[in-house]
Amino acid sequence: MNALLSLIVVLVLGALAYVGGSVEGLRTLFGVIIPYAAILTFLVGVAYRVVRWALSPVPFRITTTCGQQKSLPWMKAGYLESPYTTLGVTLRMALEVLLFRSLFRNTKAELRSGPQLVYGENKYLWLAALAFHWSFLIIFLRHLRFFMQPVPAFVNLLSDADGFFQIGAPVLYLTDVFILAALGYLLWRRFRDPQVRYISLFTDYFALFLLIGLAGSGVLMRYFFRPDIVAVKELALGLVTFTPAVPVQVGGLFFVHLFLLSLLIAYFPFSKLMHFAGVFLSPTRNLANNNRAKRHVNPWDYPVKVHTYAEWEEEFHDKIKAAGLPMEKE
């Protein structure tokens, strides 16, 4: 139900853009105004969300340790899984952000009769997530060829590497295949796995369909219904250099692509997609496991009512005395 609804919403929005791209009066809206509004929403929204997180302090050092602590000098410590230093934390975070270390650990548990609980490898989610995110990043960077003039060498290098197999013309980008395959898997997984289907919200499907629509329209444009690429770049450069104009040669599918992108980036700050920034701030991951060596300060600490020794001794005075235990006051 959630899935169907979000599919319909994305399809309607896509159709809206397709029509908007061909109606003269709406081209500026879809080609200039909405993209600018979306970028502004993204920048302000992301900054706002991050600042909100930053304003809430981390009162306690609650590292989730996934390996041996540093203790006795002869005992081998897990410097990545249970980091003791800032360097260790940095490496742990790098593994987490770049390679999805925690997801790599994923297993699946299955209860068989007996009862016998068995565990198996379960790396597909990790693989698909990694394939999606890296492809997305590379595709994003590749798109810089539309936004930068002259095209920087690293962008060309990346495009060359991505099209390494030189299949067809324009050459097939591997990331285009990977991203669609990965998104397809992630969607299929939400449908197939009853547990994941049960927890999936409208927004989960919405984000997926938005991304599939974005990648799909891009793939259609590159391989099947090519727009005038020079005109596309003129539009993109116009946006970046604040001299916006919509060339007459662009329309249709390109507007679908641009609009879905605008929606995605505008949707970012309001959604779970903020995990891209949040992952850096996760206190269970980005803190060293050196609690006992270095005091962590809680900025909002306040005094609490305690039961002091004096009160305690007074309350149990006779009993302490009868037991012959040492006392402050006889």
Binding site: P57, C66, L72, S102, V196, T203, P283, R292, E313, G324
Partner: protein, 539 residues
């Protein structure tokens, strides 16, 4: 075992198919065996917490304060501003589901709201509805839910069906820690007086007497004296067991169960033997007679109130540093919270083992060393005379307590000590130990008998792993360094496995320790005859 608990064959038929109705429906049924009774008014009153009253979870009317909704929302707002973890974990979950089958309660119950992701969504949906623009505008479409009394009941049911073991957090790509969310959830429930007696009574007891069980100072002394007497019978040596001795070098803190419950008691014997043998200048305290901290299961504030006495007592007794015994959540607090809550303990010195001279650099600020670190260091430096064969009647496996494993990273020390004092050690399958260790199913204040069905469900993964090593290697002893484990794992192991005992590591140390001037020992601390001695007799 409570009589209404189903048999293992029935309980292990878990249906993992989620129900037809969506999870946003908050309705829960309080079925006997799956929830804990409410806190008694006197305990709430004693601790000065809100809304003490007579009520039970299965009552229709929970007698909430009239402005309960405002209290909850204000409480949420305050905590969103105070805890980055809370705000972040409300925001960034992508519902990938990697945590789902990592929770022992989910594995054992199949209840989808026991998937950590969904347990968190119970509160996240309220957060979205009242604290995010998308949720305010689009409601359920943006994953938002109205806060109703039904939701409060649902929170109560599921936040007291989470043992804060943090296993989900290991697998979460963003390190989202359900324990953090449960802790905050329970804090919120406490604001309107919805809490369980199994947490509030120990907390109240601890606040008053210094230990969870409410043992008063003379009782404490009796208990220790009894242990000293028994040790004399076993070893022929009368050990010294100082209580509240001023000027001792070390203050020893242990969970109160060690001196009052079984099989913890054998661990206490082990400590006393060890300290005597190495001539440690130490003291125990009846005031700070509890390492465990049920405040952790109540609120951050209560944790601080209960924890305060440890440093206070260390200062009063003018000790140099603190040694902590075998305990799980006591160490979560001592390792991750204590120094922040009640530090800095500038009046103490960096712990140095008086026997080996080892300086415990990793505890240089908190000044509290784990007894596993301490004993491992002794064994490593050859300071103990150990006869491993005295543990030959045990085939040992080790259960890593959640808090010590995932809150501390103390994984190797216990294994080092076990291998130092016994010959037959077999680890359980790797998905169930170390940082991936499974909870006993009764932590975080849920180890009460009325909750037995849920405890057994939660204990299924652990029980299963024990069964595996029992069948493969003939394991007959499950060691652990957590007092709650020692109290609750016997039931779990009896229920799911059978024929395996539970004990502490220092019990094994006590068995193996050859003391100067001891009489010939033929049985271990439990009175079980040594296997090796038997063989010799036959030969």
């Amino acid at each position: 075992m409570a009589e209404h608990t189903p048999k293992p064959e029935e309980l292990s038929k878990v249906d993992y198919h989620p129900p037809k109705k969506g999870w946003m429906d908050p309705h829960v049924e309080f079925r006997k065996g799956t929830f804990c009774y409410s806190a008694l008014a006197k305990n709430i009153e004693y601790l000065g917490m809100p809304n003490p009253r007579e009520w039970q979870p299965f009552d229709a009317d929970w007698k909430l304060p009239p402005n309960w909704k405002q209290i909850i929302l204000d409480g949420m707002k305050e905590r969103l501003e105070k805890y980055r973890s809370f705000r972040l974990f409300m925001d960034i979950c992508v519902r990938c589901g990697a945590c789902a089958d990592k929770c022992h309660f989910y594995v054992g119950s199949g209840d989808p709201k026991n998937m950590p992701v969904l347990r968190a969504e119970l509160i996240r949906s309220i957060y979205r509805r009242y604290f995010t623009p998308a949720g305010k505008m689009f409601g359920p479409l943006a994953g938002g839910r109205e806060l109703t009394e039904e939701v409060i009941k649902e929170w109560f049911y599921y936040f007291y069906q989470c043992t804060e073991c943090r296993r989900c957090s290991v697998f979460c790509p963003y390190g989202i820690d359900q324990a953090e969310i449960t802790i905050i959830g329970r804090e919120l429930l406490n604001l309107i007086g919805c809490n369980i007696n199994w947490v509030m009574e120990p907390a109240a007891n601890c606040f008053r007497t210094g230990n969870h069980l409410g043992i008063q100072p003379h009782g404490f002394k009796d208990s220790i004296d009894f242990a000293v007497d028994e040790l004399e019978e076993i070893t022929g040596i009368r050990v010294e067991a100082p209580i509240m001795k001023k000027g001792a070098e070390v203050l020893f803190i242990m969970p109160s169960a060690d001196y009052f419950a079984s099989p913890h008691y054998y661990t206490l014997l082990g400590y006393l033997m060890l300290f005597h043998e190495i001539g440690l200048d130490y003291t125990m305290s009846a005031f700070a007679g509890e390492g465990g901290n049920f405040g952790l299961f109540t609120s951050h504030e209560m944790m601080k109130r209960l924890n305060a006495k440890i440093y206070e007592e260390a200062k009063r007794l003018k000790v140099k540093w603190i040694l902590g015994g075998e305990c799980g959540h006591m160490w979560r607090v001592a390792h991750q919270y204590m120094n922040t809550l009640n530090g800095p303990p500038d009046f103490l010195e960096v712990p140095v083992s008086p026997i080996t001279g080892t300086r415990f650099e990793n505890a240089k600020s908190t000044k509290m060393t784990h007894i596993m670190e301490f004993t491992a260091d002794l064994i490593h430096n050859g300071k103990l005379k150990l006869d491993k064969s005295r543990n030959d009647h045990w085939k040992v496996t080790h259960h890593d307590p959640c808090n010590v494993a995932r809150g501390m990273g103390l994984l190797e020390e216990p294994r080092y000590v076990i291998n130092g004092v016994c010959n037959h050690f077999y680890d359980m399958p790797e998905n169930t130990i170390r940082e991936q260790t499974f909870c006993c199913g009764s932590g975080a204040g849920l180890g009460t008998d009325e909750n037995m069905e849920m405890r057994m469900r939660g204990g299924l993964p652990r029980g299963n792993a024990v069964k595996y090593v029992k069948e493969k290697h003939g394991v007959n002893l499950l060691t652990t360094i957590c007092a709650i484990d020692k109290a609750t794992l016997p039931a779990v192991v009896d229920y799911w496995v059978g024929g395996v005992e539970v004990g502490g590591i220092h019990e094994l140390v006590g068995n193996a320790l050859v003391m100067k001037g001891e009489k010939e020992r033929t049985a271990d601390l439990r009175g079980t005859p040594f296997a090796a001695k038997e063989v010799k007799a036959h030969a």
